[in-house]
């Protein structure tokens, strides 16, 4: 009988995610998240190493604190807004262990890192998609591990 326990992070993660560079402003980040319908995006260095994650909550916290001065704050670098310490996992990690880390850290997204480079992100939407997809495939008898379809839409 198939279960989510059979899957690894690599099976369901979003590869090549939308990312930001460290010199991006809050305005850049706002536009990227809204345009792509994302709740957060990784910030990566020149060597694709993950540095941090900027989320909608980070931006709202900064804008909310700014009150009437949002326009000025929007031109600040994203480092001024980021609060969460990103949680990174390896692509070979079991999906259930990744979910546990996600719930424990109260985050919606994990960075997937291989050899120091960001290779993907795992979001709660990816997990939901996997749960739904597995059940359908199990009922149809068509499932093989690693065949879970991943779309690269917003999370």
């Amino acid at each position: 009988m198939l279960s989510v326990s059979d899957l690894t992070v690599a099976d369901v993660m979003t590869a090549n995610p939308v990312s930001l560079r460290p010199d991006a402003t809050l305005a850049d980040a706002s536009a990227a998240l809204l345009n792509k319908r994302l709740t957060c995006a990784p910030v990566i260095g020149a060597d694709d190493s993950p540095l941090t994650v900027v989320s909608t909550s980070d931006l709202l916290r900064a804008y909310s604190a700014a009150g009437q001065d949002c326009a000025r704050v929007a031109q600040q670098g994203i480092a001024t807004a980021v609060q969460q310490v990103p949680v990174a996992v390896e692509p070979t990690l079991a999906l259930t262990e990744a979910c546990e880390r996600m719930v424990r850290a109260r985050t919606h997204q994990l960075l997937v890192v291989d050899g120091g480079r960001l290779v993907g992100v795992l979001s709660t939407t990816d997990v939901v998609r996997a749960v739904a997809c597995i059940d359908d495939l199990r009922k149809s008898g068509r499932f093989k591990a690693g065949e879970v379809t991943r779309t690269n839409d917003a999370t």
Binding site: M1, S3, V4, S5, T25, A27, D28, S30, A31, A32, L33, L34, N35, R37, T39, T56, S57, L59, L60, R61, Y63, S64, G67, Q68, D69, C70, A71, A74, Q75, T96, C99, E100, M102, V103, R106, H108, S123, T124, T125, V127, V128, R129, V131, A132, D135, D153, A154
Partner: protein
């Protein structure tokens, strides 16, 4: 700046609701088809009794034996977050932002003066309002 605007000026009024007795698959289909991250759940009287988010589904998968989640045999009532925190539709957006940030939510059901469900406000809505209100130098939305 948008913080004095009311929740009702920004919220989505056409709210997607699903009865608590429905199977989980119904809500997952709604989430996928409508590209939303939250589904509001109603009781037999049509009143708001819960909210279902992606994280609820992830948590339910973890707590089920052997990490299996029967999305056809599990009802929303078994998985949803009960009695969600709500906000008045007349409240300022600043209050909504504070509630979301303090409680780590990305969506708030909004109620009218009679306590009836009037809409839903998401963190995306708030961010969009800020971007639209100010001369933020950024790529076009």
């Amino acid at each position: 700046m948008p913080w004095q605007r009311t929740v009702e000026s920004l919220m989505t009024r056409e709210v997607l609701t699903t009865p608590a007795t429905e199977p989980l698959v119904s809500a997952l289909e709604t989430m996928a088809n409508e590209r939303v991250r939250h589904v509001l759940v109603t009781d037999a009287d049509g009143k708001l009794c819960g909210i279902l988010s992606n994280r609820d589904v992830a948590r339910a998968t973890l707590t089920n034996p052997e990490h299996r989640l029967d999305i056809y045999g599990t009802t929303l009532a078994q998985v949803m977050t009960r009695d969600p925190i709500t906000i008045s539709a007349k409240a300022p957006l600043a209050d909504a932002a504070r509630l979301m940030l303090e409680n780590h939510f990305n969506a708030l059901p909004a109620l009218d003066d009679q306590g009836q469900l009037a809409g839903i406000l998401t963190s995306d809505d708030l961010l969009y309002a800020v971007v639209q209100a100010g001369p933020l130098r950024s790529p076009q939305l």
